[in-house]
Subunit: 283 residues, 4 copies
């Protein structure tokens, strides 16, 4: 259960989204509004580490992560104030189990790819070994932490993420569902993911046996919200996808439906169905 | 704005108070109930570091502090599970300004003394220099961080804390009030402190121009709350003082009145008036 | 490549070994003398985290770890000054690869067992997956970090460490040798381990295809070294095992031969051969 | 006692100096060669935190600091690989006393100014209070840590650093010398500083009662050293100043004389005398 944002379009300074908006990601680290757990409880605090990933002059993205809360981090403020990027991710973590360490912070990277998500999987510890065995052996050394997220990313890479993202995610989700059901037929899987190769932004919203986590996008020039100043507008030909809106004026935000795969290039947003219900049920 | 507990009496493991109770200090780090800011807002998250101080075989207390949130800290769990003490303090920090670093975490120590508090002072930065100049030069090297708390402790030491605790705190409070009023006549000072020399536990509750922060004590054998197991009782001849009760059954807790100085030896609790109103107004 | 100490006998404060001796473990963190790498270089700095594990009133040991250097750590100084134990471990880490995080710091624990070591394995990343697949599935959730050390510990637990420590370590070493040889016939394995269940202290010194890492023990009352003061002596009926002596007077220390398994109860030290050469060669 | 580099000229990625050279700053963090303490001992390890400061699109510099060793820090590697700057500082810290915390890491900043140094002052704790009292009250809230370095920077700002850097540093040095002598007539002061407003780079090398710390500059296109690859050259019209050379070929480096103030614009290096001996002696 975490919060994240993903941006693609004209280069902007990261603080435009990460720290400045009325309900910026950093503000969500202390006071998120839509982070509902499976038991229906609102999780306002996302203080178990944070990370940003951005594309600059190189093909491979930059990464900056720490295991501290985002709300008072001076490094984060400085880097977001100085770094400009056409495509970037930012993530704040909330975990009810698991270790608080940088290697468990999102986004995760592999070559020119970035991956981040918020999710809920019933009893991940019981299926972790089975899923990690399916990771391509040459990718196994990439496994640095203990999160479900990293395992899902490495599984998707195993299944061809860099070539066919949607198909790889479909295989990954079906593989996880299979493990989940063998372990606990009533178990839930709930995923809200963002991925990028530095050119295209992809997102997935999928839930099984549980109400889906929220996911929104906006291409509206005023979606950053109520804060003041000369730079308040989002550039044209740009899109931001978020786990919850960055302002209080949610009419500028479009909710992405559950069980969909979204492809974003500049401000072109294409939303496709992800898995057939029958597919999900038959794995 | 922070939360704390202080215990004195028969030796117990620290986890009996710090992690086990229904509304233990560690649980308060994510979900405190009475941490009301000056603007009337409830501050549920106390995630800006933590610390414990305990008296064991030596005269000088042990200290363990970190700048991480308490809620998932494995070191804290281990140490509180292993360490037994007759008198100990524990503190979780919430700051709206200021650096998150171990030297800013409570409790502070000087020789055999421990000090911790939660407080609110209007515009401390404007009076910090003036107050730090009053610190006895030989104590100045003890200044390691940037908190108001540490400055207040060193001022109280300057004014004779180790000999006459109440008088030293009175002088300290009057000195701070004087600086405060010169700077801003409408400014507020709000203090809830615990101190000990390893034998006696002292607390102060004092507010000026603001509703006082809460402070409670209990000598009740079931004040730890609703948690189960064979060790649920607080030992006889023991007292715990807290910023908010450790259970939901607050009838086992006695609120300590505002503007009082409290002395605790075992389960003998003596509450005295602290400053005359005229004294506070005339500084 | 790390440094460690292990003590068993009459209860002493941890600082007697960890911080006070002339060449204490904390001093070794900046200036170790016998930490020779496979390439023959002296590794003086062991600054990639540290940890202590100790047995107190409970069956399960206490653990305190951090990913910072030990040399200036105030928490470590305080805890070692306050905590008394009959059997304890302390470890400082030096890694040339791998993540610096608390979950990679020694000692590792499982129920009432502690484990720590210094080692060198050629290309561990190439055999990590194979070895981790051999971990008993019910123990797999214990895997929290990415070190070879933790994998070796969980393998030994899989092979019955808690029942027959020597046999379990033999199976573990043979299993690792097999993986190593399949991957690189010229590869080296070099282990210097300490283990305990809180009653008995066991150590292993074993090397293959490489000069063995040093391991010493002492039961001498003056083995702590040259430092002054009334408490300078090690208690009678006690033993300390180290990766390098704690003083400059090494005649008080006995080198433990390579390829041996050592059992220590109080000051009774039993050294047995570990693996037949033919066994090591035939796996 | 620390190590640092400062660069000004054509924009380059920070890793060109911080991580890539044969004897890069990150390599110096484990193995510096010229970091000689007052007692003549070589201090090879600089593991008590690090920091970088760089000028980008804004007037105010970016800052990234951590209290961990630089040698394995993934954030540092990423940021230095992604960030390009025309003028930047990098610093690794070694302290024999004092707290390891981010607020004690260099560089320090004030508005558009950066400051870093390595130094040695005899018994700074004894003169700290006196010097901090001389800080302009409006600058006092900038005091966040406990280092001599930060105090010297704030004193220099008090004395007009942003208007007349050389004069302000002269006043600062004379003020420190005065305090030093009153406290201990045999005391030493040893400073090697770098400052910038984002346009000009200034350095100071000054020692009193002690052999001066080293300081070198180079405008040589091959001064980065022996490492391979297409990008090995330093750009034309650029200068790097260091506490020790970044390669083993020191003929490409010019030692800056003691007791001088250096002004660098692009590759124009002007070295002036700093204090008359009589001035230093008469304060």
């Amino acid at each position: 259960m975490c919060r994240w944002i993903a941006y693609t379009g004209k280069p902007i300074f990261l603080d435009r989204l990460v720290t400045q908006p009325a309900h910026s990601l950093v503000k969500q680290s202390l006071d998120s509004k839509l982070n509902i757990t499976a038991s229906g409880k609102l999780l306002t605090t996302n203080g178990d580490g944070f990370g940003i990933g951005w594309y600059g002059s190189h093909d491979d993205p930059g990464l900056f992560k720490d295991d501290l809360p985002a709300w008072h981090d001076e490094n984060l403020k400085h880097i977001c104030h100085q770094v400009k990027s056409h495509t970037f991710f930012a993530h704040i973590r909330a975990t009810t189990t698991g270790d608080i360490q940088r290697t468990n912070c999102h986004p995760f990277s592999y070559k020119n790819w970035l991956f981040q998500h918020n999710d809920h999987v019933t009893q991940f510890e019981s299926i972790r070994r089975e899923l990690q065995l399916d990771i391509e052996p040459s990718l196994f050394p990439e496994l640095k932490g203990t999160t479900d997220s990293e395992t899902f990313f490495l599984l998707a890479l195993t299944y061809g993420l860099t070539e066919r993202p949607k198909e790889a995610l479909q295989r990954m989700v079906k593989r996880v569902l299979k493990a989940l059901r063998n372990n606990d037929p009533t178990g839930a899987l709930n995923l809200s993911c963002a991925l990028s190769d530095g050119k295209t932004l992809y997102t997935l919203r999928f839930s099984y046996n549980e109400e889906a986590m929220t996911q929104f996008y906006s291409t509206h020039s005023h979606c950053f919200g109520d804060f003041e100043g000369p730079d308040e507008k989002m550039p044209s030909e740009s899109t931001v996808v978020v786990s919850e809106p960055l302002d209080k004026a949610s009419e500028k935000w479009t909710e992405i439906p559950n069980n969909t795969f979204t492809t974003v290039v500049k401000n072109n947003v294409t939303i496709e169905p992800f898995l057939d219900e029958s597919e999900a049920d038959s794995v």
